[in-house]
Symmetry: C2
Subunit: 421 residues, 2 copies
């Protein structure tokens, strides 16, 4: 009711009255605008031959609070965005076999470690170069450390290359990356505040434990019957139990300090080994279709274009994006060289997008006074910038990596494929 | 990151920093608890032979802020709840043919009108009887006026009786009910505040216009090809365009002062006539499976059990529930008598659940000082009480209505079915 909306909108209401109000239509309208903007952006991008996901991001930029202002960054929008990327990574996990993932452990680990150390060093160097004190510069580096593979996952899934070796290296490296960043933030926090907390160590151990258990569970889950998902009376289809499992793993992961998407990905890995895999893959699709656009539009909506009016800041942003992409690319090239030149390049490009964690680190820097509002904004724009650049880099590298892979197969594999056609 | 959550949780942050925070895990945990509580409640209910939806409601009551307090009535939870019921009514609309609905226009309209006037009179009488001034008593009546068919829709869908005549009368009556309550609130507001607003009249006319156009569109949509939903490049399946249409109609409806679910229902009616109907029905199911439990658990979570410690209030609540159910039942019996005795009873029972609008009216009464906190709580509990009672009443009446209908067919229809087997 319109009358009710006025009430619902009125600020300081006691819990019961807040409870009474249904969702405000203004918040719903904001969600609607984000969704439609993502889809219109995708439409324009596709018609111009650009990556669909860039269209969704730019759609979000345009309707976001720093441009048209039609969609605000409300808490429900953040929740929809989080749900979107959690469901996306769960769906990606469903398409990956645990053995294939473990088989690329070595290049994945190397890529993650090198791709973590270089951006911290690079960001620190940029910070020091423009005259920041060490403690501030280290936050710039840290904000550039953590990969967010939402966008890469989407590109890999869209191109149908999730079963390629380079995709598996990216996914494995992203999991390891998330543990490393947990450690890195603990260390830097200790370094800047002089407080080395033991609970941080406990968190890291728990996080490693969760992932270890998850991988073990995935290997044990092989061939589990469909009934595991349908024995409760409420579960007419396997989706409900799978959803609870995914959501639960995402939460455990988040409370351990990892990204929620890592837990969702591991949940997907585990379910991928069961007999319900195909059915759940089929049922999760409509959820993914409806929710993931919120993630990309919401990410885009955080881009503060006003930052880009000062040439000095533009220069800083460009420097940070370059450092961000180049350091991760070097990480991929060194760490995954064994998989081939273009494959390693693809892996490096795939690790380039930064996301929530970078934004969160920038927030920590701002809150502690180590980053000024200006450098905070510059880091934020750079973080989102890497996300917009990555699909183009991937679109360039992936076809070359595929060609390289098939040439390798042709050269090495005996039998008919090696024979001239 | 755990560290980040602390930041995200810190109260008064400027927009950019709010934006930066991902969804707080505490809010996500609250959503998780609501979902799991709904499903566990459903499991227990099913095993005890009770209606599943009562289990979902009671699951919400138990984890809600007035019992265990594990789930709070946050704004994201309200949005998930609203999405749940919007998707539910959209799915119900997909199963109804517009011609079947228009065919029951007369009993539906009568049921709605009588079922609106009687509860207002009945609630007013209860209010006056316990010594409320007229202006307060009228709010009690008004809070009991509006049907919320979320729960009835769920019961009808679960029993697979959406194609029965009584189901169509309930759906038609619910649409008319929503327009009537819009008028009633306008009148009562004018009556208590002495301010008869012309914009209220404009709203009512627009709302009637929207529904008229929607019904017309449904008749015109017959046989529209699937391509209507798949021509955009972003639409690999018809779901995306259907979702935008549903969401848009829900919003228009909400801004016109109708319930969002009425717009979603009409969107479903329209799409039901197109060739994409079956495919969209299939794709909306996983969304419905995941979202509707939030609606029922959230509704349950609003039940303030503390209200029920004072015997005087318990008596008032029971009186209001009785008045609420009996008046709507009489409305159904008189309005839809032509459809048969048990069919009319089912229709009356189906119109009994009250929901958001009742809560919203109670809020208006509280905000204007016409309802005390105690009477507000009593009305709130009575509103949710009608929702818990309704599935039982329906479970009792529906089998009888079905038997009655098949007996009618047997008696009236000529040919083999009338002949002894």
């Amino acid at each position: 009711m319109t009358l009710a909306f006025a009430i619902a909108g009125a600020g300081a209401t006691p819990p019961i009255r807040q409870a009474a109000s249904a969702a405000s239509p203004d918040v719903l309208l904001g969600l609607f605008v984000l969704f439609v903007a993502a889809k219109l952006g995708e439409e324009v991008a596709r018609r111009l031959g650009q990556p669909a996901v860039v269209g969704e991001l730019l759609g979000g930029v345009i309707v976001g609070p720093f441009a048209l202002g039609w969609a605000q960054l409300t808490e429900p929008a953040a929740v929809f965005s989080e749900f979107g990327v959690v469901i996306l990574l769960f769906a990606v996990g469903l398409e990956v076999r645990i053995d294939d993932l473990l088989a690329v452990g070595r290049p994945a680990a190397l890529t993650a470690v090198i791709g973590m150390l270089l951006p911290i060093a690079g960001g620190y160097a940029v910070g020091v170069a423009i005259g920041y004190p060490s403690a501030s510069a280290i936050y710039v580096g840290l904000a550039l450390a953590a990969t967010s593979i939402g966008i890469t996952s989407r590109v890999l899934a869209e191109l149908g290359v999730l079963d390629r070796k380079f995709s598996r290296v990216i996914l494995g490296a992203a999991v390891i990356d998330d543990i490393l960043v947990l450690i890195a933030i603990g260390v830097v926090e200790g370094f800047t505040t002089g407080d080395t907390s033991t609970s941080a160590i406990g968190l890291v151990i728990s996080a490693i434990g969760l992932l270890g258990l998850g991988f073990l569970a995935a290997r044990r889950a092989r061939g589990l019957p469909r009934e595991v998902f349908t024995w409760p009376r409420f579960a007419e289809t396997p989706l409900v139990v799978a959803f609870i499992f995914m959501f639960g793993m995402a939460l455990v992961s988040a409370y351990l300090g990892l990204a929620a998407i890592i837990g969702a990905f591991v949940a997907g890995l585990i379910i991928a080994e069961t007999e319900a895999r195909e059915e759940i893959e089929h049922e999760i699709r409509p959820l993914s279709v409806i929710f993931t656009p919120f993630f990309f539009a919401f990410t885009g909506a955080q881009l503060d274009l006003r930052t880009l009016t000062d040439p000095a800041i533009v220069a800083l942003v460009v420097a940070l994006i370059l450092v961000g992409v180049i350091t991760k690319t070097i990480g991929g090239l060194i760490g995954a060289w064994s998989t081939g030149r273009w494959s390693a390049t693809t892996i490096g490009f795939g690790m380039s997008p930064r996301g929530e964690v970078g934004i969160v680190v920038a927030n920590l820097g701002l809150a502690s006074g180590l980053l000024s509002q200006t450098s905070f904004s510059a880091v934020l724009v750079a973080v989102i910038g890497t996300t917009i650049v990555a699909p183009y880099l991937l679109a360039f590298a992936i076809p070359r990596a595929i060609r390289e892979e098939s040439e390798r197969d042709t050269n090495s594999a005996p039998g008919p494929r090696a024979a001239p056609a």
